[in-house]
């Protein structure tokens, strides 16, 4: 049974397999094809922009030595003020521009400044780099090295027009322009990010944690979901209510349930620990999210708890579509309940189980929110996905984060290749 089939059977219609005959070519067919591509264009464009482009970008970024701070553009800074009091026409004053390159690493090239001066100000002894035309001062400030700092002073004489208007010189902001190279767009590449990711001793641990979380989480959710489905696979009143109830963990926002688990399992004020102590099962509260390797088991248990509803839903749907006749026949032959399950139900469920396993495997591998919200990747729960975030934002090394992301992508390609080869043979996907 393929995924396509449950979508259509769930949506209420049988699927017609596309005809193997090649589509006829002619003006009508061409028009139809054009229309089809037209209808698909918005989707394809958006997918290309939001999925494909970032995927390419991640490879690019992973070969760049950039950190979080490099994302802010390097721009020339300016602070403008007037020194000296102007009370009457003919008073002298100085207009001062404080110019600064606040970046400590990057130069800014070809800096220019333009500023609108209020009417009635006359410059005396203008800096050679500047010119004034129609009350607009423009300066060519050249190249600034990192940390560049200058005070550009211009002596002015105020005319009566300026004094009367009472305009503040700072009412018009100077406009600064300059070219700063961003590391992001340069054509120099480095292996440093990958090296730092692979060299750090924790990479193997991250890999192992990811594998444990993925495999145990996937199989656990499948088995628990199957048990729940077996239990509800008989009609009785209240079955619908229970079925709806069992879907709660999956439907509720991850943020709500994750924080609830954290609250529930808290070693100091958590109810679960208090309960265990009161029942006499433990003496001192257990720190479920704070200690190795328990934290990993706890987040895996959470994963199973949150996603068993999905396997439950699918397996139940499949079970209910199994013809009852074979069970009646088996009863006639005196088969026991376990025999019926093992020899009749399980083979029928194998298809959906393997599809679920493959898909859930990949999605558990990709899971980020749950662990991030519960432990933040501490106490030996850092999976590859959490590591992306850790590297990029906690250590502020975007490049290294991207390198981990590339590793994830590589793993996924390998999985998909393997799985889809397997799937297309076994399940006709």
């Amino acid at each position: 049974m393929s995924t396509t089939e449950f979508s259509s059977s769930a949506a209420g219609g049988g699927r017609q397999t596309p005809s193997p005959v090649p589509p006829p070519s002619g003006p009508l067919a061409r028009r139809e094809a054009r229309l089809a591509w037209g209808l698909l264009t918005p989707t394809l464009l958006s997918v290309a922009l939001v999925i494909i482009l970032p995927l390419i970008a991640i490879f690019w970024i992973s070969a760049k030595p950039i950190g979080l701070s490099d994302l802010r553009p390097t721009t020339p800074d300016v602070y403008e003020r007037m020194r000296g009091k102007v009370t009457a026409a003919g008073d002298k004053a100085v207009i001062e521009y404080r110019l600064k390159n606040s970046s400590r690493e990057k130069p800014i090239r070809s800096v220019t400044m333009t500023d609108q001066w209020p009417a009635g100000l006359e410059a005396k002894g203008l800096d050679a780099r500047c010119t004034i035309a129609n009350g607009m001062i423009s300066c060519n400030l050249g190249d600034w090295e990192p940390g560049y700092n200058e005070r550009l002073r211009i002596d002015v004489v105020a005319g009566s027009e300026f004094v009367d208007s009472g305009i503040n010189i700072r009412d018009s902001e100077p406009v600064m322009r300059g070219e700063a190279s961003s590391e992001l767009f340069s054509l120099s590449f480095t292996w440093d990010n990958f090296r730092s990711v692979f060299d750090s001793g924790e990479f193997l641990e991250v890999l192992w944690v990811t594998l444990f979380y993925t495999i145990v989480g996937t199989i656990g959710a499948l088995v628990v979901g199957m048990l729940a489905a077996l239990m509800l696979n008989k009609s009785f009143s209240g079955q619908g209510i229970l079925r709806g109830l069992f879907l709660f963990p999956y439907v509720a926002p991850v943020i709500a349930v994750a924080f609830t688990w954290v609250t529930l399992l808290d070693p100091f004020s958590g109810s679960f620990n208090a309960l265990l102590v009161q029942m006499g099962l433990i003496d001192t509260p257990i720190n479920f999210f704070g200690q190795r390797p328990l934290a990993l088991f706890t987040v895996t248990a959470f994963e199973i708890w949150r996603y068993f509803p999905l396997s439950f839903l699918f397996i139940l749907a499949r079970m209910q579509s199994i013809d009852n006749d074979i069970y009646e026949a088996a009863d006639m032959d005196g088969a026991s309940p376990f025999q019926k399950f093992y020899y009749l139900s399980l083979p029928q469920l194998m298809g959906i189980l393997s599809v679920l396993f493959l898909l859930r495997f990949i999605w558990t591998f990709n899971k980020f929110d749950d662990i991030f919200l519960m432990t933040g990747g501490n106490a030996g729960t850092r999976t590859l996905t959490v590591n992306v975030y850790e590297q990029a934002f906690a250590i502020s090394n975007i490049g290294a984060g991207a390198a981990v992301a590339v590793v994830i992508f590589g793993c996924l390609l390998a999985f998909s290749f393997f799985f889809f080869k397997f799937l297309s043979r076994e399940e006709g996907l």
């Binding site: 396509t4 979508s7 049988g14 067919a29 509720a252 709500a256 609830t260 898909l359 990949i362």
Partner: protein, 399 residues
């Protein structure tokens, strides 16, 4: 071990332990009493009542003996504390314990002989126990976290530190029970977060439908080169983890100043849902009879006219499922909102709840935030479960 009395005894012990644990939790949560199971007595009670259920056909007599056993074997302390403490609650507890032990056990051993069991009977007994255990276990693991979430949000900080197990409602506080909610709405702007989340989710649904309906129709109905590839590869997009996309999106948005804008968020959200919506809809469109559409074409409708006037009205149930599913994804989305929004005036609900997870904010505020985030989606789910379940099934296993 395949003897009726042995099976009844063992099943009785296991069932009794299950029931006593659940009842202890219920009693502790609802009364705050320091109740605890007396393990040995419970096991003994279970074995005894299992045998009573097996040997004694009379229901009333069996129930009475069971109640007597519950009280007798535990030396009048069925919950590990003197019956004098909150006698009413304990009395009800004993009654439930007696009923919960006797009747399920009776159902489990019903029809089993006292002596040697056939394989069929033996397994049947075990399956019956496992089913009963499953009902209790699954209901408990699903309900307890949500119950704790809800009850913590209406408790005071002091009361919870004093006894983390006491989730009894302090009725005397009246409207004061909702203090956390009041503070969230008045001081933490949760009203605005709620509105933002609602707006973002609805907009995501609309944009998703706008894009995916024509695409799905093309894949399902029109013949063109690459149709088969398209319908199969569309789901491959779901194999790409969000965190891998989120990083370059963060970089790009930082450079183009799209971070901290709902517009930026709305550029991304629909694209994450379009593929699955397209996939679900094309499955449904395929199942619609093509003849009606052909009749429409004959009568002079254009293709777009056919989609608008014939296909869409016929697909309303599927559209409802898809919309609900997409709404749920957008409403629950956390990662992108967390990474892209820093400005509290633009937070979505999930992003707002993250802010409450700090040591300076009391736990009940966090839980109240969780309840506010959960309630709309659960209400929607319960009200439209039929569509939602279909959406979940058809939406395949996106996590």
């Amino acid at each position: 071990m395949k003897q009726g009395y042995l099976l009844a005894g063992v099943v009785g012990i296991l069932w009794s332990l299950t029931i006593i644990v659940c009842l202890t939790i219920v009693m502790a949560f609802s009364t705050g009493l320091p109740v605890r199971p007396v393990w040995f007595a419970s096991a003994l009670q279970g074995a005894a009542i299992g045998l009573v259920a097996l040997y004694l056909p009379s229901r009333i007599l069996g129930l009475l003996i069971s109640l007597a056993l519950v009280l007798g074997i535990s030396l009048l302390q069925p919950f590990g504390i003197a019956l004098g403490q909150n006698s009413l609650a304990q009395g009800i507890g004993v009654l439930i314990l007696g009923l919960g032990l006797y009747f399920p056990l009776r159902a489990m051993v019903q029809g089993l002989p006292v002596g040697r069991l056939t394989r069929h009977q033996f397994e049947e007994g075990i399956v019956r126990f496992l089913t009963g255990f499953g009902y209790v276990f699954f209901t408990a693991i699903v309900i307890v976290p949500f119950y704790v979430m809800l009850m913590t949000s209406v408790k005071g900080q002091q009361a919870l530190l004093l006894n983390p197990l006491d989730f009894s409602i302090e009725w005397e506080k009246g409207w004061g029970l909702f203090r956390s909610y009041k503070e969230l709405f008045l001081e933490h702007h949760f009203g605005r977060y709620l509105a933002t989340s609602f707006f973002v989710s609805v907009a995501t649904v609309l944009v998703t439908l706008l894009f995916s309906v024509p695409g799905a129709y093309a894949v399902a109905r029109l013949r063109f080169k690459g149709q088969a590839v398209m319908s199969r590869s569309i789901l491959l997009i779901y194999m790409v983890p969000m965190i891998v996309l989120a990083l370059p999106i963060y970089v790009g948005f930082s450079m183009f100043g799209l971070r901290n804008s709902l517009f930026g968020l709305l550029l991304i959200y629909p694209v994450t849902t379009i593929p699955v919506a397209l996939y679900m809809l094309q499955g449904y469109f395929r199942g619609l009879p093509g003849e009606i559409e052909e009749a429409g074409l004959m009568d002079g409708l254009s293709r777009l006219g056919v989609i608008w006037k014939i296909t869409l009205p016929l697909s309303l149930p599927a559209l409802a499922s898809v919309s609900l599913y997409v709404f749920m994804i957008a409403w629950n989305e956390f990662l992108l909102a967390f990474m892209l929004l820093d400005d509290p005036s633009k937070f979505t609900l999930t992003r707002g709840v993250t802010m409450l997870n700090s040591s300076e904010v009391p736990r009940q505020h966090l839980m109240a935030g969780a309840v506010i985030a959960t309630l709309p989606i659960l209400v929607l789910f319960l009200g439209l479960e039929r569509f939602m379940t279909k959406g979940l099934t058809a939406g395949s296993v996106k996590g």
